[in-house]
Amino acid sequence: MKFLRRVLGLSTDAEAGGTDTAVDIVHNAQEIASPPPEPVIESPRQDQARRAAVAELQGRAALLETGAYVGTRPLPPLETIVPRPGERMRFGQLSDPGMVRSNNQDAIFGMVVSSTTDDAWPDMGVFVVADGMGGHQEGERASTVTVRLVADHVIDQILRPMLDNRLNEPDRPPLADVLRVAVQEANDAVNQDIPEGGTTVTATVILGDLAYVAHVGDSRAYMITDDGIEQITRDHSLVQRLIELDQLTVEEAAEHPQRNVLYRAIGQSDNLDVDVITRRMPPRGQLLLCSDGLWNMVPEATIEDVVRRHSDPQRACHELVELANDRGGPDNISVIIVQMPG
């Protein structure tokens, strides 16, 4: 065969190792057995080529014939959010000291940015719940500082670059890392300035239909969709670990004397491991963030029911706080509900 190909003059290039992916791989791997270099600033020539390419495609691209769309779809259609004009993400939030405590060591933050511009940037939401711990107002200070610093970092590293049209620059840190660093910076600040204080934090950034959740401690994020309610964060508590190891049942954990013991929190140590998860929000999906003052008192099924029943997320927040208070409200109660359009 090789002989034939050579006679036909078909693959002299390829024989030299030029075009075949698999062969290339082997060679390239040896050639670049060193870390990839820093990005090279593009020469103007290349840039021109790119621009020309883009111009060409925009000029020449013909529309697909409408008849082309009837084929079978191999993937389930991705239900993306296409909001009706004037519809956008809505949220409600409430933080309450509860029935027993005189002070509120929880802190919350909520913000929605929405624009209509030619470049069609997505709506953005920033939501943070922090549950502070520590005497002498140290708990309040820890949660307050955390909420402020996380929001500040996210606005600086996501919102501002988005407004400046810099978010798709190649060297930007991944969005998940922005949230991770935001929480780590809050941790550094609390460690330095509030030695006796600590706090949990569950922070969400929503960009378009993707929700990024950074999480430390035992505050929680739930996703409520047509399929039901799902806890998307994992408590960093001793009892949760025991449940995962089949050493405790959920019911036993609820009564366990050490159910308040966390193994990860802001203000505990210098090196903080932060969970950052990314989830797509379906149309009309809702995200609920809360401190343990809510989930310790109100069962998941009830939370789901209340969230579904209200079209106004702020009213749902009020009802959930009331329910927790009706059941004794021994701890501070904080809740944020975000409703996606669609």
Partner: protein
Amino acid sequence: MVDTHKFPTKQPDKSQGESTLQPGSVLQGRYRITGVIGVGGMGSVYQARDLRFPNVTRYVAVKEMLNLSTDQSIREMTLKTFERESDMLASLSHPAVPKIYEYFPSKTRAYLVMEYINGRDLEMIINSSTDFLPVETVLRWALDLCDVLGYLHSQQPEPIIFRDVKPSNIMVDEHGQIRLVDFGIAKIFQEGQKGTMIGTEGYSAPEQYRGEASPASDVYGIGATLHHLLTRRDPRLEPPFTFHERPIREVNPAVPPEFEAIIMKALEFKPEDRYPNAAVMKQALEQLTHPVAPAISVGVKPAPEEGGTTWVGAGVKPLWVFECEDEIRSSPTVYRGVVYVGAHDNNLYAVNANDGTFRWKYPAEGRIVATPAVAEEDNLVVFGSTDSLFYAVDVRVGQLQWTVRAQGPILSTCSIVHGHAFFGSDDGNLYAVRLATGRVQWKFASGGAIRSRPLVAGELIVFGTEIGDVVSTDLSGRMVWRFRAKRAVSSSPLEYDGLVVFGSMDWQVYALDIARGWKVWEFRTGKPVVSSPAYGDGKIYIGSVDGSLYALDLATGKERWHFETEGQITSSPAFANGAVYFGGVDGYVYSVDAKNGRLRWKFKTGGPVPGSPAVVDGVVYIGSMDHALYALKA
């Protein structure tokens, strides 16, 4: 750990002043306090000089236990328990157990006078050392520790359970001997107190948090202590019960695998999976110091992953083998009982899936590197070739229906959606071809050769280029976004839950927001990534030229496990029924458990396996550079 209820007023803080005996004060007219050894939540431990022996300096340790409950009955009960413990201690006789000299209770406190141990505890020893402790030293301590705890566990009628094995409760005396201190007496006082822990976070066995303790719980404590000593990783700073996530030898390769295996067995979550008591653990350790015939025999399993060669490999026999005339570097497609595969001999082969018999072949004019795709409604099998042609062949008989000519070789596999084939070429264009007519609907000039398979998800097309751009267009070929990796992206993007994932020659695996191309996470492997990702069970599976197959959590981008092979992995994995299948340049076809990355089986072919498997109905079809197409039982 942090206790969310740790704050308002801690009892010991309040009582600290009155509980502390001042240096110089004399207890019972006999023990002059000379210093404080330690301060605990329930009282202090003092160093004192025994005045009965005025001519020699004889030190004792005086342990003070505060009994501060305001409830009369609780106070009495506490006192009784304390007395019982003291009696028990006094009856023990073991060189590692400190001797008890005297015990005197009072209304609000009790004192225990015991042997003063001149030395340092293991926690101090770890903290003052800067490097790993010698393995032989740790092994000797481990034997001594098991010896004394084995002695306690052998007590009649009931075994004594120490409950709190941890470095700070183990001392090394001036003669280098291990001594056990702090016999859990303080714990009797602590029990039932709100917000405090039973045992110590980090070293206690899981069942102790249920209030259960057995000799096997102490075995866990020994394991946890040894793990800390050998790795220098303080378990109190890690999530509880995660020793298995920090394999000792990964941190400290000087530790023999057999020693590691014993410690890991001691650290099993379930008590019944550990050594039943310290004496049995000691027997296992003794095998390390006296390597009789086979060193690994007493209940120590060798590392399970790689060892089981008895059935790994030898047991896997191909269902059939089909020989082509040249290397197979592409991946087969299976459709209605027929396997289609392209080879370097320019042919596209159609082979019966059940027995590997030949049906037909179609000769292109160049090599077929791309995976053939079947257009069901049009009864076509379509594929590109290095001859710059895109072929559409009748899926049943192998007769040519039409071709499309690109301006460069076609190495990109095509995607078939909405009655169109989408593929890229080295000429830099992405082509959309109407399958029914073979007409090019549009092409998109990306600026770089396209060798990845275009992903079509909803209304978007995403593909990688050899100049490192990942481009998204809509179905009409208009650009939506462009992402720039630092090197070529030959890996074919995969979409799941709003994220698009692919690898790059810049060593990274990227996840982007599919709607906008914004980077969500990145994961760095040790070499270029040309393998394309597969999804299953919440995880992304992708190979790297560094030789490993990685399983990454889709939502977090964190590694769940990786599986190492002897060569590069350029093959794209396939996921089916909880298993991952892929080929290696080392010549093997691998099947690993998707949950934990353990090898299920491997099969040796006669050459590197750069292509990817197709897994259909429990059969893996994969080609090798030894010219053969294999059908293997999944």
